[in-house]
Symmetry: C2
Subunit: 248 residues, 2 copies
DNA sequence: CGGACAATTGATCTACCTCAAAATTGGTGG
DNA sequence: CCACCAATTTTGAGGTAGATCAATTGTCCG
């Protein structure tokens, strides 16, 4: 299940970065010529584990992954969801010991890029370094918004807010449109991301369906009332800092 | 209340960065010669406000500040506390529109450094750029840990965890030692950081005092049972990624 | 068709919230 | 040194959002 890199694969990364930054042709070309080894993984497999010291970064080419931490008593907190184009462990470039885990949620295709190549790339192209840095800063902004959700929003508002966020992020990289996006997560996954029990997530989802805000089944989320979903969650997309202006 | 920069002020920044990175003399010297305008602010003043587009960064020289967001109904979520040596809005270098606010919690002395100077510095010294990036990555790691606290820990565990974190961070920059550190926060501030009501914070603190884990009054936190505090909060300092090995 | 996993339901429980009042503290001016 | 004010902490009573536990149903898929 190993193959050598090809431009088509790395193109996902360019698309992702261009949703938050702007490149010239040289820079684009340099990214596309990054070396990478590709692998296909089953759902639920760990890519990086707490206290690893990786020497490469993972680029998701297909499927979904999440970052999480397990605490005593087996409770799990999910920090982020990742899709094609994301480098979920970019931070390992500058922080050597990882402090959480990364796992696939679905079957996924992942490319591994040596730290060395990325360091060389960022050294030669400060604009690319800035884009990577910007990506990690936006991630921190999303963490802050999740904190607001967990600390100060009701479960209903929090779920609605997450759906708005995910739709816009997916749309920005061409993976969603027309108020419809893939969402191959179980209610347990959602609960672990939101800080809720799966039972309560279920009840909130039912209420949202009943009110005709969304429909969600078969791994697809359909937003049936975007404006209303924005309103109830007080969603303001500024924090996503997307270059391409978000859909209204 | 304005004065020109001096090395003594910027030295706080070097101390902070050296708690998470290592510099050569050239780099240290370059940081020390950053220009800065210093100002003294009263408690409760906003330094940066949601949707500002600042052209300078704030370096805290003295006192405490916090970053926060207010949502509908006046609820506040605090994301981080900042002390001498911190640049709480470093991200504005790469993300132009800020998506939250920054305010003083106590009387504070703050130095303002133009973005231009910081950009020039990071362009000339990649090692300093890496240290700044590393600082923002560690901040994200702390956000993740706060998410665990809000989503998956009990109030008691969460408070204990925060105290462990703050003590180690302050100790790393020489602002704490001997299990004693400044903590000039009201119970309302703590609640807004932890996602709890001030009433509940109060009850948790009483319980922690009753169990002889801490004492807290007059703006000073004394940790009376470090090991026990670590144990109940399952505290693992890895995520702080401190260079200087933390006290046991 | 059977097995595994995911979604749903029901019943009960509790950690934490809200509201409101009282006590304490720290600073200030007389 | 005391009296007073504002801010903060503390206490009490009652309420509720969301947790837990355990069963049932639905869905996918080989």
């Amino acid at each position: 299940m190993l193959s050598t890199s090809n431009n088509h694969a790395i193109a996902m990364l360019v698309r992702k970065l261009e949703s938050i930054a702007t490149f010239c042709d040289d820079e684009r070309q340099a990214i596309l010529s990054l070396p990478a080894k590709t692998r296909v993984l089953q759902p639920g497999q760990d890519l990086v584990r707490d206290s690893d010291r990786p020497s490469q970064c993972c680029l998701i080419l297909n499927g979904w992954a999440c970052r999480y931490k397990i605490i005593g008593g087996g409770k799990r907190q999910i920090f982020s969801f990742h899709v094609a184009g994301d480098i979920p462990d970019l931070q390992s470039l500058h922080i050597h010991t990882v402090d959480h885990s990364l796992a696939t949620l679905t079957e996924a295709t992942v490319a591994f890029i040596p730290h060395e190549s990325l360091r060389d790339l960022t050294a030669r192209f400060p604009g690319i370094a800035a884009a990577f840095w910007r990506d990690t800063l936006i991630e921190a902004a999303i963490f802050r918004e999740w904190m607001v959700g967990m600390g100060r929003r009701s479960a209903y508002e929090h779920v609605a807010h997450l759906f708005c966020e995910m739709y816009l992020k997916l749309q920005a990289v061409g993976l969603a449109g027309n108020y419809r996006c893939p969402l191959p997560l179980t209610q347990v996954d959602l609960g672990d991301a939101l800080g809720l029990s799966n039972v309560h997530v279920n009840r909130v989802l039912q209420e949202m369906r009943r009110r005709k805000l969304i429909s969600l089944h078969g791994g697809t989320l359909v937003i049936e009332a975007w404006d209303e979903l924005n309103r109830v969650s007080e969603f303001d997309p500024t924090y996503l800092h997307l270059e391409t202006r978000a859909a209204a």
